[in-house]
């Protein structure tokens, strides 16, 4: 006979878990791992006019064909609420620990408040009004919790971050071993983004940005990293720079992401092209002289389109005859024009109907990791908030308040262009006229492939323009008489009455009668 009271030997019970300090740290780390992930980071590009995904839900959403059943809606929704649950469990149980210093516990709580605020920010960004679980919900509470207005969610986020700020260290107070933890700077950056996305809080945006720009002794020292490309790709710069405010932390070989496998050309190790840059993105990179390609005097040549362009284009997008620098510093030319590759079949060549060749004739370079394991298993960090975004948001807010001037220009757009490698005065000096589109274009070029473009076109309410009609690829179409010979990848449509919000997942509406559906679904 064997006894009937058997407990697992490799796990803790709820009676003992929180009393052990290491466990509390582990619970905190677990929540960090739930903060965000590489797919949530990259995928939104394909929901914007920056990129095209040839398959799956990203394709459906981008073309305006999503419904309340679209799996990504439910998947993302569930993912954010999972994070919130884990945070709430932490906040409600951590006080069982009596051995960690009070200040340590207060800091951990503040970090968790940030995580919950970030999840709520993302939820309300996509779904509008959403339920706000400010404590660990019971199953019964989850069945009746109503939606909280988007404005109230924003207020809650700001208040929570305000409460967290005193208990968080500044970046400068962090010992090196804690690089990557949530700081005062991160809390301000999330406040900034929350306020900016509301559209009518530009003065508050300026206030928050100025804390980060002008009060670095208190909130941490931030600056632009000299080399734009290195910030994403150089394994050393990527991890140690003064530009990152909060990054998703990875560690080579043990905590990794692999999305780049489906971004890179086949001939340099890519698998399929799951998401490819559009011609619309490429066209928005300005010339070295500061002019847009369609502006008079730009010097843009459609027959040789990739020369004299914003250096960030080459740092971001792979185009025909691109010089791909291999990890060992050799250079491989990427042939994309059909029939041009000396090695046939040319796997990178544009080939309609191919799953693995890019559907737009462009691939990605930004976030290429030269020390990744095979299949692009990378340990490079993904920057959730960086100082460049603060400068761009500051410029946008100042401009919308009518306060843009040469000084603001110089330390924002000017500084970014200078860092990107522009030297021409036409690009660097303060221009005249309405700068709204200049600042927006700058934001697009600087932040391309960081998942923020889709937020911008939605908060600017321009998606019914940018997400309507054909998304294009390079000038390799079989029929050169249609759309100037630029590849039509997909006909998109955007219903402004519906598509500015995602559908609340259909299953959720069925299980909670207080949960209403967004209009049009």
């Amino acid at each position: 006979c064997k006894k009937l009271d058997i407990a697992p030997t490799d796990r803790f019970s709820d009676l003992t878990f929180w009393t052990v300090d290491v466990n509390v740290n582990n619970a905190l780390n677990n929540n960090y791992s739930l903060l965000y992930n590489s797919s949530l980071f990259f995928e939104p590009e394909a929901l914007s006019d920056n990129a095209y995904s040839p398959s799956g839900d990203l394709n459906l959403i981008a073309s305006g064909n999503a419904t309340s059943l679209t799996a990504k809606f439910a998947g993302d929704w569930a993912s954010y609420y999972r994070t919130i649950k884990s945070v709430n469990i932490f906040l409600e149980n951590v006080d069982q620990n009596k051995t960690l210093p009070q200040a340590t516990i207060a800091r951990m709580k503040a970090e968790n408040q940030f995580m919950r605020a970030f999840a709520l920010f993302n939820l309300s960004k996509w779904f509008g009004d959403v339920p706000l679980p400010d404590h660990d919900l019971t199953p019964e509470e989850a069945q009746v919790i109503p939606r909280t207005s988007k404005a109230a969610i924003s207020d809650y986020i700001i208040t929570q971050l305000e409460a967290a700020l005193p208990n968080l260290p500044s970046k400068d107070q962090l010992p090196a071993s804690e690089n990557g933890r949530i700081t005062k700077g991160a809390a301000l950056a999330l406040q900034m983004r929350t306020l900016l996305y509301q559209g009518n809080k530009m003065a508050e945006v300026v206030t928050v940005c100025e804390k980060l720009i002008n009060n670095q002794a208190t909130y941490g020292t931030y600056a632009l990293t000299p080399n734009y490309s290195a910030l994403f790709s150089d394994p050393n710069t990527n991890k140690t720079n003064s530009e990152s405010i909060l990054s998703l932390q990875y560690v080579p070989t043990v905590r990794t992401w692999q999305n780049f496998w489906d971004f890179a050309p086949r001939t340099v190790g890519g698998r399929v092209s799951a998401m490819a840059p559009t011609q619309e993105l490429v066209d928005d990179y300005i010339m070295l002289n500061g002019r847009g390609i369609k502006e008079a005097g730009s010097g843009y040549l459609e027959s040789n389109p990739y020369v004299n362009r914003d250096p960030r284009l080459t740092a971001t997008v792979v185009y025909d005859r691109y010089s791909w620098v291999n990890p060992n510093n050799t250079v491989k030319t990427i042939y994309i024009k059909p029939g041009s590759d000396p090695v046939q079949p040319g796997l990178d060549e544009y080939s309609p109907g191919s799953q693995s060749a890019s559907a737009t004739g462009y691939y990605w370079r930004k976030y290429f990791d030269p020390i990744a394991l095979s299949s692009f298993v990378s340990g490079n960090n993904l920057h959730l908030f960086r100082y460049a975004e603060v400068l761009l948001s500051y410029a946008e807010a100042k401009n919308s308040l009518g306060q843009m001037d040469a000084a603001v220009w110089a330390k924002t757009i000017g500084a970014l262009r200078s860092r990107a490698g522009f030297t021409d005065a036409g690009a660097l000096s303060f221009p005249s006229g309405d700068l709204t589109s200049v600042i927006r274009r700058e934001r697009r070029a600087e932040l391309a492939m960081e998942g923020l473009r889709v937020d911008d076109i939605r908060r600017w309410k321009v998606a019914e323009t940018t997400m309507n009609g054909f998304a294009h690829g390079a000038k390799f179409a079989t029929d050169q008489n249609v759309d100037g010979g630029y590849i039509r990848t997909q006909q998109r449509k955007f219903n402004p009455q519906r598509d500015y919000l995602w559908a609340v997942p259909s299953g959720e509406v069925g299980l909670n009668k207080n949960l209403t559906q967004n209009p049009g679904y």
Binding site: A7, I89, V254, T267, E349, S374, N495
Partner: protein, 1014 residues
């Protein structure tokens, strides 16, 4: 030849009795057992029906029992006679006289009051299958066996009487009295008989594990007083994997791609010149057929059996080998495939009043499969147009712009493998002490020790012009050990007092199980050796030690009471009390009672007038409560687990801790089961029939609450929430025809079961689950899992049809797109028009066996099938240019709409992201539905037994050669995939991933067999 039992009672006089046993036509019957009643002394008739027997003087007043399968047994008093000739009457299967194995004992078929189906060993042997479940498919009504993967070594799913719970529906398996035997690894040739306990009356003695039914396996044993024989049986044959899908030629594919693009407002991809070029280029080798080969399958079994007066033995050894139809070996070692080695010992001893039985079994299995997974192989092979090649003329593996970077030909030939090596020892030690004539004490101890090892290795394969597989070069070793012990002791008392017959049984049992395992994974190992080298990484996430012990324990008391009056009225009651470690104190114990009764109507006087027509007629009924404790071992306890590399700070990994939420109030699922049955024999029992009806309600079904939205933020633990009714019927009919030279038998069984969800959870009455492009529905009052979505209504035939028909709002459809039914007639297609589209669980399952013997020739045909089942298929074999992932069209998809083909099977081609594609393929309708009913000629066996006169000169008492065919012919409306494959396990789980029609094709087997007995 006749042989005498070695009766060696020297002190007493012995008389000799001899005679001839004949059938109704006076023809000598060979193989008839002649036994002195109540003793082990007996003989068997020879080829002419003659026997001779030495009878000790003190037994001379006893009866001789003459028995033979298919004939009515006869008892004849010896009464000093020297010669006793007997004519036996054909009596069907003798089914009612059979002794049937039941829980904790045996019972005469005639006195059984529960629902028990039995399968004789002869129905299982000679089938070219390695898995005993496969051999059982179709053999008993409502023993539902489905195979979702046909790759050798794949497990099967089993249900008895369908689905009774939302949780695990796996029946309990008991081998030679010991709980928890492994039917996947047992050698089908070692099985003597199988009993399937289906209702509470028969199964309640297994209490908490019996709700899904019980399968009792009895393995072959030696018999007392039996000549020692040596037998060999073997078969060898070839399996042909039957690929049912065919790509259209590449030039047609290009044409269809253009059509798809143009229909979506996009430019065509191919110029007419390019299409002509593709046509001129001809076909390549990139298709599934070229990843498959004809593969051998063989089976060899030897056994030695014999017995004296006080002991009997059976020793067998078996070897079975089924090679995979996939080409290659992964780059090293044997071909892909499954091998099994069995060694079995069964020893019985009589020591005074004590009878002992020892069974020991060793099984070794090895299953070698590819390193990438079958699903990927088929997907990559399926999605590339037909003009591409796997290899160039130099043998290099090629890639192309249509697939991912993989070339599966190279993966199979060089890309590594996954090899499982499992060792299993099963033992059963049983002692029966006959304390008095009526009182018997039985003690049993047994169990299974398993040691399962996995070795996985991925090898790097480089492709041209670029691409690589397996450059992580990982090597993984994993090992798991488990032990399951079962100890029990029970007392039986039986007594007959005039017309009253009593039997009582009472016992106690203890079971316990524990398991632990470890694994180690390294990546970037040496390409040639797989050993660590510069840059090798130990993978901390996929490596673990054997700290985790999985463990459970069950303590039980059980009892059974039988009462029979005049052998006409039968009454039985059983009960079991189980206490399990899987529940918290207070919820641990539960009581499972049942009662059953039977009435042998044919024994009544009013039936005697038609006794010659209706030989036997019995009605029986049972009711009882059965349990199901198929829950996780520590599931009632909330636990926290630490894990490595959850996150990182400053480029250094840090650990994390996760939570497993629990529900301390978990308790047993309980199934209240009612069964009524009718057994009848007609025309000298040549025709026997059984009919059963059952109705089972399972309550307190454990499952996660389905009424909790995702906002809750975590998977909910299981609660005792749901309730399901499962009811149905089953019938079996056997007709035996014995002529002078020709013997035939027909046997058919058919069954149905229907389940209904009575309660889901909390207040929720409906759950809709997205399963890829379509939906599954759980709705109270309906079958537990159904396909759900829009009903199609043909196609939009022209623009005015488009303008005038209800549509999904905001989607610009065109003629040739799928039209949906506006079920609520509100002029618009929306979620309110969704309806139930099909039921994936098989109904009207059937099996048919025909046997024919003409002189030395014999033939056995076995047909098995499913009368009704719907299946939803998706993926590149269903949707042209599937979801942007696939680049192909298949022949069966070319029945698509055009003005001249208005009633097509499929809509017009359209690109992913277009309104047409969204309407037709992303909306979840019965466009994806297929009829998966089928009938299959599963097995054909044609044999010839050489005349004994010829073989006996070589000392061979029996020599039979045979031709064997398996899966020879399938009748189904579903033509491009095997209709048996299902995405569901035996529980219709809503978590099952959808069926992408990428299963390993059904192997068709042709071979020959040999049976020799010395």
């Amino acid at each position: 030849s006749t042989f005498k039992t070695p009766v060696t009672i020297l002190t007493t006089r012995v008389i000799s009795v001899s005679g001839k046993v004949t059938d109704e036509k006076g023809i000598g019957l060979p193989g008839v057992s002649v036994q002195i009643k109540g003793t082990n002394i007996g003989a068997v008739t020879d080829g002419n029906g003659l026997y001779s027997l030495s009878v000790p003087d003190e037994l001379a007043s006893k009866n001789l029992t003459f028995s033979y399968l298919g004939y009515v047994s006869q008892d004849i008093s010896i009464a000093g006679k020297k010669t006793i000739n007997v004519q036996l009457k054909a009596g069907g299967d003798n089914a009612l006289e059979d002794v049937v194995v039941i829980g904790y004992g045996t019972q005469k078929r005639v006195s059984i009051t529960g629902s028990v189906s039995t399968i004789d060993g002869k129905n299982i042997e000679n089938k070219p299958v390695l898995n005993a479940y496969q051999a059982l498919q179709g053999e008993a009504p409502n023993l539902i066996i489905q195979q979702s993967n046909l790759n050798p070594g794949s497990d099967v799913t089993v249900n008895i009487r369908g689905v009774g719970t939302l949780g695990d529906n796996t029946p309990l398996v008991v081998v030679d009295g010991i709980v928890g035997g492994n039917l996947n690894t047992i050698n089908p040739n070692d099985i003597s008989s199988v009993s399937v306990l289906k209702d509470a009356g028969s199964a309640a003695i297994y209490g908490s594990r019996a709700a899904n039914g019980v399968i009792l396996i009895t393995t072959k044993a030696g018999k007392l007083n039996q000549k020692t024989t040596v037998s060999y049986n073997g078969s060898y044959g070839l399996q042909d994997a039957n690929v049912l899908v065919h790509k259209v030629p590449a030039w047609q594919n290009a044409y269809y791609k253009n059509e798809s693009l143009v229909n979506s407002g996009l430019s065509p991809a191919y110029t007419p010149d390019q299409i002509q070029q593709l046509k001129d280029l001809g076909e390549g080798t990139w298709k599934i057929e070229n990843l498959l080969r004809t593969a051998p399958q063989q089976s060899h079994n030897v056994n030695i059996a014999g017995g004296g007066e006080k002991s009997a033995f059976f020793v067998s050894a078996g070897y079975q080998d089924q090679e995979s139809n996939f080409i290659g070996n992964g780059g090293d070692g044997a071909n892909f495939g499954y091998q099994k080695y069995n060694l079995r010992l069964n020893q019985t001893n009589i020591i005074g009043k004590l009878r002992t039985n020892f069974i020991l079994l060793y099984t070794k299995t090895r299953n070698k499969t590819n390193s990438v997974g079958d699903n990927n192989i088929f997907a990559d092979a399926n999605r590339v147009p037909a003009n591409f090649n796997w290899q160039d003329e130099n043998g290099n593996y090629l890639t192309n712009p249509f697939a991912s970077q993989y070339n599966e030909y190279g993966v199979l030939e060089k890309g590594g493998f996954n090899q499982a090596d499992n060792d299993e020892i099963f033992g059963s030690f049983n002692g029966q002490l006959n304390i008095t004539k009526d009182l018997k004490l039985t003690g049993e101890f047994g169990g299974t020790l398993q040691n399962n090892g996995t070795f996985f290795r991925r090898l790097q394969v480089n492709y041209l012009p670029s691409g690589v597989y397996g450059d992580d070069r990982s090597v993984l070793d994993a090992n798991s050990k488990s032990q399951l012990f079962n100890t029990k002791i029970y007392l039986e008392y039986g007594k007959k007092i005039s017309d009253h017959e009593f039997k009582a049984q009472f016992g106690a049992s203890s079971e316990n199980y524990s398991q632990r395992g470890f694994q180690l994974q390294k990546t970037l190992t040496d390409q040639l050796l797989g050993t660590p080298t510069t840059g090798t990484i130990v993978d901390p996430i996929n490596s673990n030690n054997s700290l985790a012990i999985n463990s459970n324990s069950l303590l039980s008391l059980f009892g059974r009471l039988n009462y029979a009056f005049k052998d006409k009225y039968l009454l039985e009651a059983t009960a079991r009390y189980d206490a399990s470690s899987k529940f918290a104190k207070g919820n641990r114990g539960s009581f499972f009672p049942s009662v059953s009764a039977g009435w042998l109507i044919s024994q009544e006087t009013f039936m005697q007038s038609i006794k010659n027509t209706v030989n036997s007629l019995k009605i029986r009924a049972s009711y009882g409560v059965l349990g199901n404790q198929n829950v996780g071992n520590f599931q009632y306890q909330t636990t926290y687990f630490n894990y490595a590399s959850a996150y990182g700070f400053n480029n250094i990994p840090v650990g994390g801790a996760g939570t497993l939420l629990s529900n301390r109030d978990l308790t047993w699922e309980k199934a209240s089961t009612f069964n009524i049955g009718l057994d009848a024999g007609f025309f000298d029992n040549r025709l026997t029939a059984t009919f059963e009806y059952f109705n089972k309600v399972t309550r307190d079904i454990l499952q996660p609450r389905q009424d909790i939205p995702l906002i809750f933020g975590a998977a909910t633990p299981d609660f005792n929430v749901a309730k399901v009714r499962s009811k149905g019927w089953e019938a079996s009919l056997t007709y035996n025809l014995r002529g002078e030279n020709v013997t035939q038998s027909f046997s058919v069984n058919v069954a149905d079961n229907q389940n209904k969800l009575l309660q889901l959870s909390g207040g929720a009455t409906e759950q809709i689950i997205n399963q890829d492009v379509f939906q599954l529905l759980r709705r109270v009052g309906e079958p537990i899992t159904q396909y759900y979505g829009y009903q199609t209504n043909g196609f939009f035939q022209n623009q005015s049809d488009v303008n005038n028909s209800p549509k999904i709002a905001g989607n610009a459809v065109v003629p040739g797109d799928v039209k949906f039914k506006d079920l609520n007639n509100d002029g618009i297609i929306d979620a309110k028009d969704k309806t139930v589209l099909g039921n994936p669980f098989p109904r009207y399952t059937f099996g048919f066996t025909y046997r024919l013997a003409v002189k030395g020739f014999d033939l056995q045909l076995f047909i098995q099938g499913v009368g009704k089942r719907e299946t939803f298929l998706r993926g590149e074999l269903v949707e042209p240019f599937h979801y942007g992932y696939g680049a192909t069209v298949y022949e069966h998809m070319t029945d698509y709409w055009s003005p001249s083909n208005p009633d097509a099977r499929y809509p017009i081609f359209a690109n992913i992201g277009s309104p047409s594609n969204t309407n037709n393929w992303r909306t979840g309708s019965d466009l994806y539905k297929y009829d998966a009913a089928y009938a299959r000629l599963k097995n054909v066996n044609i044999g010839y037994t050489l005349p004994q006169a010829m073989t006996s000169k070589a000392g061979i008492s029996r020599l039979r050669v045979s031709l064997i065919g398996q899966n020879l012919f399938t009748l189904s409306k579903l033509k491009f995939i095997d209709p048996e494959t299902s995405e569901f396990g035996n529980n219709l789980s809503t978590g099952s991933s959808s069926n992408s029609a990428r299963q390993y094709p059904l192997p068709i087997f042709y071979g020959a067999g040999l049976d020799i007995t010395f």
